[in-house]
Every structure is written in C-alpha cells, then in structure tokens.
Amino acid sequence: MSVLSVNSITKRYPGVTALDGVSLAFAAGRVHGIIGENGAGKSTLMKIMSGVESQDSGEISVEGASVRFRSVHDAMAHGIVMIHQELNLVNDLSVAENIFLGHEPRKFGVIDFKAMNAKAQELLDRVSCKASPKQLLGDLPLAQKQLVEIAKALSHQSKVVIMDEPTAVLSDPETQALFRLIAQLKQEGVCIILISHILHELLENCDDIAVLRDGQFVGSVDAIEASEQQLAAMMVGRELSDMFPARVSAGTGNELFKVSGFQFFGCQSPVDLNVKAGEIVGIAGLVGSGRTELAEALVGLAQGSGSVEVEGVPVGRGLQAGMRAGLVYVSEDRKESGLHLDLPIEWNTSLAKGAGAILDKRAIHERAEDWRKRLNMKIADVRDPVSSLSGGNQQKVSLAKWLATDPKLLILDEPTRGVDVGAKGEIYSEMRKLADQGLGILMISSDLPEVIGMCDRVYVMRDFAMVGELSGEEISEESIMNLAAGVGV
C-alpha cells in the first residue's frame, strides 16, 4: 500500500492550469524521482502534498485514508515534510533549536535544553552531520545546513520526505554523501521524493521516476531501465537533437582578455588566465573552489589585485570601470543578486545599460521587446514582473540585461542552473552565436556535460587556486574531476 497518494489533483492559478488531473502514488522504503521542465507543475504538486497550497479538486490519501491539508503543520502531523531549495532555517538560532523549532522538548513549561541537545545529537549522528547541536546555524556551510534540515524533518517522525533540488548547491562529494543518506533512510522505511533537473542523479538514485509536462502526468519509468535521452524526450515531448551547437571558429581570434598575477580574497596562489575573441572558456571545479569569488573580484565586485587587460588595455578597479571596458558578470543567483524579481522585465533589461538621466521610456520598452525576440523569451508582457517567469526565461532576462551593455567579455556563472532543457539549448546556441560574433565568454559551471559540450578550453580550480588547463581532446569528465578533486597529483 502506498504511504502517500494523490488522485486527479487539479490546481488553477489565474491564467494557467498548473496541475491537470495528476495521479501518483508513493511507497514506503522507496525513492521516487519527479522531473519536468520549469512550469511543468512539479513545484505546485510538491506544495500541495506538503500543505503549502491546497488543490482545487482531487484527493490526497495518507496510508489509504483521505486527508485534507490546511497547512504545512497539518501535513507534518501526517508525517509529510518538504525540504525546500531555499532552506527554512534560522541562522541566529543554534542547530538544536532549529531542529526542534516549534516542537521544543519542554520540562515544567520551559525548554529542556539538555534533552533537546541530546536528541539533536542523535538525529545529527543519524544523518552523519558533523555539526554540534549548540553551534550557531549561521556558522555552518551550506551542505551541513541541508543535513540539519533533513535532521529537522526526521525529528517529526516523517514518513515522507520531499526534497526540492537538494543537490543544486552541493559539491560532488557532498552530493554523494547526501545520496548515501537517502539510501539509508530508504532502508529505514522512509519514502523519499526527489525533485531534480539533474537526470543522471535521478537515474542512479531513484527506484522510479515520474515525468510531468504542462501540468499533466506523462508517464513513469523504472530508473534501472531508463536512459537520460528517454527522460529528456518525455519532458519536452519531442526528441532532442544535439543540445550543443557546433563550433565554427573555436577561438582563433586575438587575445581579448588577459589576467596575470591576479589575487583575490582567499586565493592561494596568483591566477593567470586568458580568453581569445570568439572563444568559450570554462572554469570548472567543485562548489566552494573559489570560482565565483574569482569572477566577482575580476569584475570589481570584490577586492582584487593584479593585472587585468581587455584588448591590451588595463582595466581600472571597480564594477563601473569593468563595465566601461566591456567586462560583465552574469551572476549565478538570479533571485538574490542577478535580477530585480519584483520589477518589470523591461526595467531589468535596462538597469545595467541605463536609458539616459531622464529616462527614454520608449527605448526601454523597445530594448526589452528586441531581446525578447532575439532570445525567444516566453513572456506575456515585458511590463510584467520578472517573478512571473520560469527559471529559463528569467535567465534569458538576466542575459539580456548584460548583453544590452555591448560587452566584450561575458563571465557567465552557472548559466543554466535551474533552467529547463528547452531553454538550456537556446542559451547554448546564443552563447555560440555571441562567440562567433567575436565575444569572449568565460563560463563557470558545475555541469560537466555542459563544460565539455560548450568549452574550447577549460581551467580547473581547486581550493581557491588554478590547478590546471585543458583544451581540445584533453577535456573529459575524468580529466576535469581528477584535477578538481586533486586525484593523482
């Protein structure tokens, strides 16, 4: 019998049907994957199953009994917990206080800290988290925080744990540790539901994978038998031609960007790198290897020293000087630092470029319309807020914002994170087109197939230092991972 099942769930928002009669069943002691492009209805389904939102019609059953969740608390009481991508933890409380937030062990009406810390320690051991219960949560690295969140879920005696993109922010070893933990929870009889964009992860770690498209359940596959191609085709509803565009020029141009003896906060040895016109150069490495920090220092968002030249001309320090020299950085974090989600799309696309001291509203509007066509953005109206868009379209707005400034060198940080398969291909072909027009592109990415498919040359970083450079045939998953993890050196 399934521990949790949904039956003909339908949910409508103004203008869209997010879920259209979806039925799924989840069993105890199994790991279920759910995939779909952005906007396919995954997150809506998760929100309904975890009590964040309620369905318009359809039924949820827990262990065969029909239930109706009025709140997250309701769902928790039935043993269903969701771990959100943006972890719901309080940085200013201790690890134990976070785990037991809302159901603190009490003695004589006051919190029994001794019992709480002891129980927290048990849970932390169970999820192999090295943090101490008394430690301040804010001091932990992200991967540890995630483990705390899982410990928190377990503290509720959860039968079903739903995880939304749990590996998006983790490095490879951390990801492996997380999947070991998931396997262990599975052994203990917990039902795990994983939502992810990373197909091979799901194939390796799930028992079965359900595919959603346009709010409907497309089908479910056995993870042992299925392939990435099969899943991708089910997600987009068509066969994917090769996602990566063919290289034409492959960076035979002049040296465009030259960095030598560059030091930034935390760096272990000075960095040298260069990018030719028309070249796409990757910066690979594990999360936390200092790639973003290097990029932010290069464009002047953070302190840095050393020689930075664009077309042979030294670039002054500071973001403004970098922008004037044609050096721009498209942030990995669209929500926090990349975009103004609450503001209209057309404002965003003109924020970096500007539109005169007295605004030229027509130019602002036309610029947004131009980019919308050029990047094939799926947008109802450029006056809508960015928050109304899917991840892929948001990323296109972010690209448009910086391309509007006519950059010479584009630094892209994880350009396809949280972007669906269809939009990914479009972003790749736009990148190649830009390179063919003579732009230099420096791409930070943790997605190895992407690095291998797109880059003419790859730098690899480890522990805030440049540890290698690969080009042409040398670029492979193995060679990159060996350098990134420091194997065989």
Binding site: S331, A352, L359
Partner: protein
C-alpha cells in the same frame, strides 16, 4: 485578488473622496467651499513637503525619524541668523533670502549627514535617525535656550506663508478674495518635480531598484551607496523648505514644539499613500493624497467637536485600515 490590487492602487484616493463626501453631507454646503479646501492645502503644505522627501527614503528601503527634530533645528538656525542679519543692518528682504538659504542648506547638509552615518557608518537607518530625532531637537533647544525665538522684523518673513495668489472671482462669504498661499504652490510644484524625478529619471529608477533588491542593484552597477546617501539629502532639503514655511507663518520658531511628531505623520502619509515600508514600491501622488486625507480627518474631527484625546485613535485606525488593504498576500 483583483479587488486587492484595485485597493492597493486607488485606495487612498477612494478613501479621500469618501471622507470628503461624508464631510460635505454631514456639514452641509459649508464644507464644499473654497475657503475650506484652500485651508486644507495651506495647513498641510509644509508637512506634505516633508512627506514627499520621506517617500524617496522609504522607497529606497530606508526610514528617517529625525525630520521633526530637524525641522525645529533648521528653523532655529534660520531665525537666529535672520535676527543677526537684521541686527547688523542688512536690508530686510536680503535678510529673508539669506535666512531661507540657511534653512535649506542646513536641512540638506544635516540630511546628508544622516545619509553618511547610515551608508558609510553602516548604522541601521532606524537607529541613525533615532539619534537625529533626539539630538537635533536638543541642539535646536540649546541654541534657542529652550524657548521660542521671535523675528525682530516680521513683515518680510510672513510674506512667504501668508500671502499668495488671489483671484477676484474666488471669494469667501464676505466677498473678500481667498489667498492661495505660496506654500500650496511650492508643495504642488515640488510634488510634480518629485513625481518626475521618481518616474522619469535614472535617479528615480535607481532608488526603486535599490529598495527592491539592494544586492541585485549593486551587481547591476548601480551606485547603491550614493543613491541611499542622496535620498537622505533630499528629505533633508524638503525639511529645510518646510521649516521656512513653518517659521514664516508666525515669524517665530518654538524649539520645543515645532515639528513635534512630524516624522510619524510623514511616515503615515507615505504608507497610506501606498508606498511599501519594505521599499521598492511607491508613488508620489499617493503620498500627496495621503497627507490631504490625514489633514482632512483632523479638520473633520475638530469641526465635529471630537475630543483631542480621541483623534489619535481615529488616525491610528485609518493607518491600520490602509495597511490591511495594501498588504501583500
């Protein structure tokens, strides 16, 4: 959801019209006459000007609690210097101009000082301007030795607030033309300028961008610190202009009571007008109508003989209703 959106956009105007109609009906025809309307504008122009500046600060996700105290301080500085100029034999009209400049410059400079403490001192706006709230009034009282300073010559000063545009066809009951005093025109002109500044200039858009998402603004190359600094200068300048009007009304300044609690009235008007205290969203016309609405309610309460002690309850209730109607989901 649609209804909520509608209230967010037009609530303050609807409220103003409803209250106005209520007044017109209960008070009979006497309310719907020029003198009453003109007086509403005259009485609230100075406060309205402060609220205009406050709108910018709040849209940039800041707050300024020091405006009331700053009003007293720049009024005191203006008056002390005016009397000094007169004493030293400066012609009265020249002294008036100097005094006005001193009020504006002191407002601007002290406002920028607030901004510097917040931006470069990295002190939370609430705390930094709370310091101003305490210190500026105290400073004003110290300069004025605790009391009221009267102008040694009053005529020239009073021209600013107590004269204005008159037209022979717009008269009161006794057929005397009504004065549309200069402060009204200054307020309206500033509202237009500020509306343009917010909606039509790069500066305005940067203010909104900073308030909406400061980090993304920084990553976009917007000079976040400079923008924040300037919003405090802007509200300071508004306070300086408002202090001229205040001083001009009676040709005197009371260091202990001038501008007392104005920070709260200004913030209330901004919020009622539909500007979000979280920053990133706001409008000038809303603030303008918000000031008028609060002013109208005060007038009504007085004419309806409601005890002074109850007025705070009514105003508080209005702000609560405004906040409830405008809250997000």
């Amino acid at each position: 959801m649609k209804a909520q959106r509608f209230f967010q956009d037009w609530g303050v105007l609807i409220a103003f019209i409803l209250v106005f109609l209520y007044a017109a009906i209960t008070q009979g025809g006497s309310f719907l006459q020029w003198p009453v309307i003109v007086q509403l504008f005259t009485q609230n122009a100075d406060k309205g000007i402060v609220a205009l500046g406050m709108t910018f600060v709040i849209i940039a996700a800041g707050i300024d609690l020091s405006v009331g105290s700053l009003l007293a301080l720049s009024g005191v500085l203006m008056m002390l210097n005016f009397n000094k100029f007169i004493a030293s034999g400066t012609p009265e009209n020249v002294a008036v101009i100097y005094a006005c400049l001193i009020a504006m410059v002191s407002g601007l400079v002290i406002g920028l000082f607030n901004g510097a403490v917040i931006v470069w001192g990295k002190i939370a706006p609430f705390v930094a301007t709370l310091v101003g709230l305490l210190a500026f009034r105290s400073l004003g009282q110290a300069f004025a030795e605790g009391g009221t300073i009267n102008a040694t010559k009053t005529e020239g000063l009073q021209v600013i607030a107590n004269t204005g545009f008159e037209h022979s066809s717009i008269v009161n009951r006794n057929d005397i033309p009504i004065t549309f005093s200069w402060p009204i025109w200054i307020w309206i002109a500033l509202a237009l300028v500020f509306g343009f500044l917010l909606n039509r200039t790069q500066f305005g858009r940067h203010v909104i961008a900073v308030g909406s998402n400061e980090k993304a603004a920084r990553y976009s190359g917007i000079p976040v610190q400079k923008i924040k600094f300037l919003t405090y200068g802007l509200v300071g300048l508004c306070v300086g202009i408002a202090s001229i009007i205040q001083v001009s009304k009676l040709a005197s300044v009371a260091s202990g009571s001038t501008g007392l609690f104005w920070e709260l009235d200004a913030i209330a008007a901004v919020v009622i007008g539909g500007t979000s205290l979280n920053g990133g969203r706001g409008r000038i016309w809303g603030t303008f109508v918000g000031v008028l609405l609060l002013g109208l309610i005060s007038t009504l309460l007085v004419t309806a003989d409601v005890s002074v002690y109850w007025q705070g309850v009514v105003k508080g209730g209005i702000i609560l209703v405004a906040a409830l109607l405008q809250r997000g989901k």
